[in-house]
Symmetry: D2
Subunit: 313 residues, 4 copies
């Protein structure tokens, strides 16, 4: 990134303002997730964005300080926690390849005998929950504490109404879990895993908190403000690689093409993206595109990499 | 890549020597591609590697000056050429997502009505050939001339015996092409497209030539020694993103995880990888792993990123 | 069947003796179902066969009076009961086509949005249970009473140890049921449906009882000894057609080719087959072939149609 | 079929008149096949039907003496011819199971490594043509001569304009043939097989001729008027079983349910059905339903079995 590094540091505050203005017409075009009743009540007109630079500077705009439901973004935390404790042994039970299929499909899972393609599709995330359930008293509490640690914020919590709402409509996740149980790739009871998973997904954060929580991945595994090592540098890079190839459902290729950053999205409309060695950026807008990623959020990140000339490529 | 850039330039010569020594025991473990009779005659014990730095320095080791069959590596040239001429219109006919399926599968192609997932699986590469066949008198000659241009080497040529050998056993590619024809996503005659494609795939280069040919992609679309712009910076970054997510068949996720660089592989045993803004590196070893990528070559690149501390993540 | 009808009535007693002798070497070749622990304890060396002629004559040989677990054979009873009560409305929720896939696959079910191909694969049978659960206090009791009625035998009952054993290992059926629930094609709670289904499948009968239970389908919907009409003639013929095209899992084509009679098999090793207008024949041998049908049982029926010159074709 | 045989012979002439009147409103509802240009020019308002009784009586109505393109109905002739010459060895190269997929799908063929599910889907029919091409100088001529023999009519011939039209648009069949060639399940050149297959499919007959041609299958393998044995009784029954389970594309289950007779349909709008031991019946109406079977033709056969009380079930 010779070119990049010779440039002066971008004016992030101005860039966020530009982006926030540009995305306004898009806010009406996305579709708020409807399959979890509690989520469907959120207005699609929210937009927030926050940048956490590794030197400690932070920038925020719009609804960047409003809590939203992280949903699949928490899969990243669960993976980081499981990977930090279990190391490469997790790859016996989940793959590292893009799935080429919707995030909740059972087709590939059946063909591949219960081994999920990667930890970011639902099946793979349930395996992570299962792994954590075998190690911790309660997997969801472990993920919550991990989230508080990496975001440096103890008030982060579950939204139990959302968790309950999701659990009641989690038929497809139950189907996935039972299918893996049938193949021997789920060690704890299905109900335990689904309950933990639904609570984990219900964690809420603000964009500002989420960007800060991404700091350790931008800084090669080490928490910027404390120097505590969560993952060694090599492992952190590998998680970033997984985010790039698998982090945005079956739109990962298109997302890499347009945005060019490792990222993890959720159906709550949040996306966390990383410029390794420099910063983490979080965006939130509840309206989703047809691939399940935040429509305005993806556009905002595309503009962010263009306006800052940041890209890993 | 703050950390990286603060480091002194790595001693590439020494690193290549280390890698070359380390891979020797692996050379017997891969399997030389057998489906094209001509290719199966190559010894699996070859190993070559070359680095082309954007400042013009080059480093080479082993069989780095021996010609080998590029095969699917040429898909990258065809894509770059088509993209440079046709721009984003090519995405109407081919996607940008990892396929999650073997490179020559027809299943997804049928479900998705003849639109290939990306330009690096065979179906997508045939569409590129078709696009080039509509624009140039002969698609394969156009790709050859493009290869000569970006490698700065006029002696680069087809291996017509390999092309002939491949054409005679190209039943699956014929099946793919006819299926796309049936869906209306192939405009030229099937035979024309297959013939051009087989000749294009037969282009031979050395590692040293291939590394140099990758220079324009490492330098954001501009040929380092001439300053000629093949692609604008944004387009070049996008090709790199595609290489990362789709460039190594259905092992792209694992390759990104292990190596962490955009790359394109071929069944001839060659791989071209890029450190954007810095260098291009080519490796060749004919023995393949079960995913069709060079076994020793992938390992060599993994060691290269570790020993040089280079990674886009 | 002009030719057939001009023949004298076959000597069924002699034919059963011949068959029983012929199958002995096959009894060691099948594999007793192992996925339900209770079933796996049955010896593979059992063989029983019984013929119920519509004139009331019955013939039996071997273990024809020993109880065995009907398993999927009960799907026929559940379908007949649901069809007799709900008529053609059941076809809104389940198809009438062979699936071309294993009986417990989820792939097709996902592609076809939760509508099972036919009532004899597990998914379709669960929909039948769901339909009966909406109509009767307890679906499994309703099927049991129906079985007692058509077999004219009140001692027929569940084997609750088998039901319990199956319920504990029913992960795949849970997966199927939850997937259909997700698609809105299951109206009762998943647990209710699975529990009823497992009990229904655990019904035990002897070959003699099962042959008699098939009498009403051989006699175009009317119970031979009472004249009570269960189904009108047209509906009975239609059930027979379904048995022929879908009754023996994904071996229905081969079974029709070899045996040429409508039939329904179960993993307990039982098969019920019909010669419409003439007789019902039941066979039991626990060793299964690779398609999940009784190996010796299928052969016995093939010999039966050859030796009696009976076939619907 | 005790009940049936006790009935007097139905008044076929009156029944055909009834049916012909009933189907008139349906003639506008089907869709004439459009993928072969020559076929798309036929008016959808044709309707013809003919019955050939094994005692030599024939009945005909409507356009029963007008020629139409047999298309897939010829697959039955090719199979009968190949089976009569090669016996059970043909089953090494093609299966006997319903496919559960559209007649021209490549998905299953790839999963099952080039072995088609049955001889009535396109892939299986191409294997039959390949088998016949290895045995006869010209496969299509052999099938034509066979058709003339079983219909007792030497004027039966190809419609070369249709054959030519089909060959020019046969991309999907080319795809299927090349895929099988890739798997080693096609021994002759792809072009030879496709050309022969297209000519075979172009054979034209009238309903009257087609019904007569079905006579040998209704009479258990023996030509009624000459006593010549084409197939032994067991083989003839087995072909009938295949017709029932696989003869009407992926609507075989529904067809068996509604009509209850072994049958083979074609996209030209023709269907041949059999009442074993009694008669063959042919119907023609070019408008197809969404499964590719004649809409009015299927309904006519459903009415035929109802009005004559004929059904194999």
């Amino acid at each position: 990134m010779t070119t990049t590094d010779m440039q002066a540091t971008p004016d992030y505050a101005a860039i966020l303002e530009t982006i926030c203005a540009e995305v306004q017409p898009l806010l009406s075009q996305g579709k708020v997730a409807s399959y979890i009743p509690q989520l469907s009540r959120v207005s699609g007109y929210h937009f927030g964005m926050a940048v956490y630079c590794l030197d400690g500077q932070t920038f925020a705009i719009g609804d960047a300080h409003q809590k939203f439901s992280l949903q699949s973004v928490t899969k990243l935390f669960a993976l980081a926690l499981a990977f930090s404790r279990e190391g490469d042994s997790i790859w016996h039970r989940v793959g590292r390849e893009p799935s080429g299929n919707p995030f909740n499909s059972l087709v590939q899972l059946e063909y591949e005998k219960g081994k999920p393609r990667n930890p970011f599709i639902n099946a793979g995330a349930l395996v992570m929950t299962d792994i954590l359930s075998s190690r911790f008293v309660q997997s969801d509490i472990a993920v919550l504490q991990f989230a508080r640690l990496i975001a440096d914020e103890n008030c982060i919590d579950f939204d139990l109404a959302v968790a309950q709402s999701e659990r009641e409509t989690a038929h497809r996740n139950y189907a996935i879990a039972h299918l893996m149980k049938d193949f021997g790739n789920l060690h704890n009871p299905v109900k335990t895993v689904i309950d933990s998973y639904c609570r984990q997904c219900s964690i809420t954060m603000t964009c500002a908190e989420l960007a800060k929580a991404g700091g350790f991945l931008a800084q090669h595994g080490t928490i910027p403000w404390s120097g505590a090592q969560i993952l060694d540098a090599s492992s952190a890079k590998r998680l970033n690689a997984l985010m790039l190839t698998c982090g945005t459902y079956d739109a990962a290729g298109d997302f890499a093409y347009r945005v060019g950053l490792p990222a993890k999205s959720g159906v709550g409309g949040g996306i966390l993206a990383l410029v390794p060695g420099e910063l983490a950026v979080a965006v939130w807008s509840p309206g989703l595109d047809h691939t399940g990623n935040s429509l305005a959020g993806t556009y905002a990140l595309e503009r962010f990499t263009t306006l800052t000339s940041r890209s890993i490529f």
